[in-house]
């Protein structure tokens, strides 16, 4: 197997939240290397720092110490505007809740990063339709979020995360709120982005079946990486079993 180039690297990443007198150590020295085109799942108990890690990786928040590099950029040394631009062009986000702007249609929501980038969305119509088709929303393009089901909204959010063809897609419990079938649609769309476009996916999930879509599962506890499980080349069923074994062992 040819070694893939590194896309994302963190070095001794720490994050403390200060709540008055109390400080919470959400991340305690995370060292992580993610290759280009890899699909990484992150699992761990609630409060273990998964979301915090995602926020730092996506440049939504600032680390207390340590370093993050994405391609040739050192995130931890960029200012807000540079980070914003990076986020807009190189990183796609899918959150658990509230992913869409209620006043925009599905297609407009997908086109939002393009519009923010000052591009004319009409010029990208075909591309947006392709993306909507990819996530199975071809016939919903002009619907507003309140006319879509939770699963459909989340798929629109996935399409939006992909619209700028970012190198990195970050998804924080994207299926956490959905039923099995809706969840699978999203996971398949992410998997395809990874397989067909060499995009890198980092996804937080509580669901073993969801994690089994990944090439690699990182187990998190108390702000640290506890285990790094390689699933590449394995059948899905086998993966699920291995994940179950590790979670049982770690006592999640």
């Amino acid at each position: 197997m040819t070694p893939m180039p590194t896309l994302l690297r963190t070095h001794e990443l720490c994050k403390q939240y200060r709540l008055g007198e109390v400080t919470v150590d959400a991340l305690r020295g995370v060292n992580l290397v993610v290759m280009r085109g890899q699909f990484v799942a992150i699992m761990g108990p609630s409060g273990s720092g998964k979301s915090t890690l995602m926020h730092l990786l996506g440049g939504l928040d600032f680390a207390t110490s340590g370093e993050i590099t994405l391609g040739e950029h050192t995130l931890t040394s960029l200012n807000d505007d540079a980070l914003t631009l990076l986020r807009r062009r190189q990183i796609g986000f899918v959150f658990q809740f509230f992913n869409l702007l209620p006043t925009l249609t599905a297609a407009e929501n997908v086109a939002l990063p393009l519009m923010l980038d000052g591009r004319d969305p009409d010029a990208y119509r075909a591309w947006i339709d392709d993306l909507l088709a990819l996530v199975g929303l071809a016939d919903r393009r002009d619907h507003r979020p309140h006319q879509l089901s939770g699963g459909e909204q989340q798929r629109a959010a996935v399409a939006r995360a992909l619209v700028m063809e970012p190198q990195l897609v970050l998804a924080d419990e994207p299926t956490g709120n959905l039923d099995r079938a809706s969840g699978e649609g999203i996971l398949r769309a992410l998997r395809r982005a990874c397989d067909e476009k060499q995009q890198t996916i980092v996804m937080v999930t509580h669901d073993r079946h969801a994690a089994a879509f990944a090439d690699r599962v990182i187990f998190f506890q108390d702000g640290r990486i506890m285990r790094d499980l390689d699933l590449s080349g394995q059948a899905q069923k086998r993966s699920t079993q291995e994940i179950t074994a590790v979670t049982t062992e770690l006592g999640f």
């Binding site: 986000f93 925009l104 990063p113 969305p121 309140h146």
Partner: protein, 680 residues
């Protein structure tokens, strides 16, 4: 109940900014009322400084009082609106919190008490702050007005009327309670479930659209009616005033009904336009205008109201001063009548007030020399000064004059124009003893018409007179025709109106008088009219200045709604940031929204304000003054005169709105997007 009180305090402190805003609103209402009262008192004290002259000056106060009351009322109105707005926002904002309390078993009565206690606390503190703020503001305003108006109108610093202070305090307190009543009722009716749901962006309600259609029909019917049959032509006092209020009410009603839909329409129509210019931001801005109808309407309405008031007031003062007051003097100016007397009106009132009454009256020797000086070149009409409540044109302290029938008839049409009767029919009445020539306003107030008896109270007692004519007189003054004018007053004549014969050299005549009687001043009426016009424009400026307070109140109110709008959507804004919107792009969305609302409000207010001017002029007309005016031309030229202020409003409103948005925008942008997103 201790715990509930604790909850009130905690909620007030937790929402510090909004509490402060509401408090400021209440305080501003009280403070401006007190300040305006102080200005009024200072003007009064200045005018009455000289007790002897006080009677003469009563008329001047009559000019100010209605205007001061009007300004005070407007400011109170703006403050009431602001307080209501603040409370409505605070309740809407806390729907979820209230819903949560309800699910936890808080009864409706407890919610009710909670909110009203909150209002009471804010009302009490606000009234207290307003009292001291008002005393300070009043002092500043008096000093400012002394600096600007010093020569024309004397001001002497005076405390506010106790009744006004009382009114301000009671009003701000009850205002806070009443303003909270409606939102509290809303909150009480919230089902725990409904309250827990996020506020939805409801589409435009059908009802609103139906109301707007009604409003449009109302506006068209009203304006159509005013074009076809201007009421100002036929309406007579005492009907004129209520009719004008009714017409203005209809106009404003139509405006209120139309506004929400207009705002929504601009949002909808604007979307495509904005989307073309700026695909991301423009779309979001216009979308945000279309939803949150209540919030948008409230903001737009607040700004519109402020612009409406300053525009409408400018038009109103312009009409009253120029078309009504000055027109009554047109005859004097045209026939080159001039004034001779010891006081020099053109130098302003301050000079006059430094004189003693007897030094202002002409003595017999002066009258003799005057008559001899103009012999054959002009007629002389001596006017005695009478204060009579029955005859007073404005209020009950406005001055009237008394003179002999012959003298009045010499002045004739320069001074008085009949709308009922004429000089021929009036002559026998005027010569039989005491007769009065009055304006329709005075006639209506006494319920008399030509030929009716009217008992006149004056400085020297009372006299039964007969109404000899109804019509327009210079400055609205009522004239008493009597063989013994000095019997109505205990002094000599105050002034002489000199009417030159045709072709006389007026300047030479005036010079001759001044040479023959060095004590006397002479002023052409055109000079007097210029001075009056100056006072009018200064007054307008002064009132506009005070009304800036109304704009300030509007600005505060907009800060409140913008705050609400930003807080309500903080998840959306954070999401925008997460998907790559820069801080400046998010600011642009907020500022764009504010500017658009400001523009809509400013334009709507300007149109409504200009409309108020037109409706007022065309409905009120000049009948109270006994004038036959060309109503539509007068309406249009006064609207044109108010256009400058209206344009100022159109420009200022978006600026105020953007300024008001700055505070909440800064607040939201300072925060990390993720803290907001994670906050669910």
């Amino acid at each position: 109940m201790k715990s509930l009180n604790a909850l009130v305090w905690r909620s007030l402190i937790a929402t510090r900014t909004r509490t402060l805003l509401t408090l400021f609103a209440v305080a501003l209402g009280a403070a401006t009322t007190i300040a305006v009262s102080m200005v009024g008192q200072s003007i009064r004290r200045g005018l009455f400084k000289n007790q002897e002259v006080a009677t003469i000056m009563g008329g001047m106060v009559s000019y100010f009082d209605p205007m001061l009351s009007f300004v005070g009322l407007m400011i109170m109105l703006a403050a009431a609106f602001l307080v209501y707005n603040a409370f409505a926002m605070s309740v809407t904002h806390r729907r979820q919190q209230i819903g949560a309390l309800r699910t936890l078993g808080t009864t409706r009565a407890q919610i009710w008490r909670l909110l009203l206690s909150e209002a009471l606390v804010i009302g009490l503190i606000g009234a207290g702050v307003g009292l001291f703020g008002g005393l300070f503001l009043g002092k500043v305003m008096v000093i400012g007005m002394q600096a600007v108006l010093g020569g024309m109108i004397p001001l002497e610093e005076a405390p506010p009327l106790t009744s006004d202070v009382f009114l301000a305090l009671v009003m701000s307190l009850s205002l806070a309670l009443v303003a909270m009543l409606f939102p509290a009722r809303l909150a009480m009716r919230l089902s725990p479930l409904a309250a827990l749901k996020a506020p939805e962006s409801a589409p435009m309600e059908k009802q609103t659209v139906r109301r707007a259609k009604f409003g449009l029909a109302l506006a068209i019917l009203l304006l159509g009616g005013l074009v076809v049959a201007p009421p100002g032509v036929w309406v007579k006092p005492p009907l004129d005033f209520p009719l004008t209020i009714a017409a203005l009410g209809l106009w404003l009603g139509a405006f209120v009904l139309l506004l929400p839909v207009l705002a929504g329409m601009v949002g909808r129509r604007g979307r495509r336009l904005f989307a073309r210019h700026s695909p991301g931001i423009g779309r979001l801005v216009s979308d945000n205008i279309q939803r949150g109808q209540r919030r948008v309407t409230l903001t737009v309405f607040t700004l519109a109201l402020a612009v409406l008031v300053i525009t409408g007031l400018t038009g109103f003062i312009g009409f009253v001063m120029n078309d009504l007051m000055l027109t009554t003097w047109a005859g004097m100016a045209e026939q080159q009548v001039f004034y001779a007397g010891r006081i020099d009106v053109s130098q302003g009132w301050t000079v006059i007030l430094n004189q003693k009454l007897e030094t202002m009256m002409m003595n017999d020797a002066e009258v003799d020399s005057l008559s001899r000086a103009v012999e054959g070149k002009a007629t002389v009409t001596l006017m005695y000064f009478v204060i009579s409540p029955e005859l007073s044109f404005l209020g009950d302290g406005y001055f009237s004059v008394a003179s002999t029938p012959e003298a009045l008839m010499k002045l004739g049409s320069a001074f008085y124009t009949f709308s009922e009767g004429d000089w021929e029919s009036a002559r026998p009445l005027m010569e039989q003893g005491c007769a009065v020539l009055i304006t329709p306003l005075v006639a209506a107030r006494n319920g008399v018409t030509v030929g009716d008896p009217l008992e006149v109270h004056h400085q020297a007692g009372r006299t039964l007179c007969i109404v000899a004519g109804i019509g327009s007189s210079a400055a609205g003054i009522s004239a008493i025709s009597t063989p013994h004018p000095q019997a109505f007053t205990n002094t000599g004549p105050l002034m002489a109106f000199i009417r030159p014969i045709l072709g006389a050299d007026v300047d030479a005549l005036q010079a001759k008088i001044r040479a023959a009687v060095p004590n006397l001043r002479t002023n052409s009426f055109s000079v007097y009219m210029d001075a009056f016009a100056d006072v009018a424009s200064m007054l307008t400026a002064g009132f506009d200045g005070m009304l800036l307070l109304a704009l300030l109140a509007a600005g505060m109110s907009v800060v409140n709604t913008m705050m609400m709008s930003v807080v309500e959507r903080q998840h959306e804004l954070a999401l925008l940031r997460a998907v790559g919107a820069t801080r400046s792009q998010v600011s642009a969305v907020i500022a764009g929204e504010a500017a658009l609302m400001g523009l809509i409000g400013g334009l709507a207010g300007a149109i409504a304000g200009l409309g108020c001017t037109v409706v007022f002029v065309v409905t009120y007309g000049g009948s109270s003054f006994g004038l036959q005016l060309a109503l539509w031309p007068a309406a249009l030229h006064n609207a044109k005169a108010a256009l400058g202020v209206a344009l100022f409003g159109v420009i200022a409103a978006p600026l105020i709105a953007v300024g008001a948005a700055w505070l909440p925008a800064r607040h939201i942008l300072r925060e990390n997007p993720i803290e907001t997103l994670a906050g669910q």
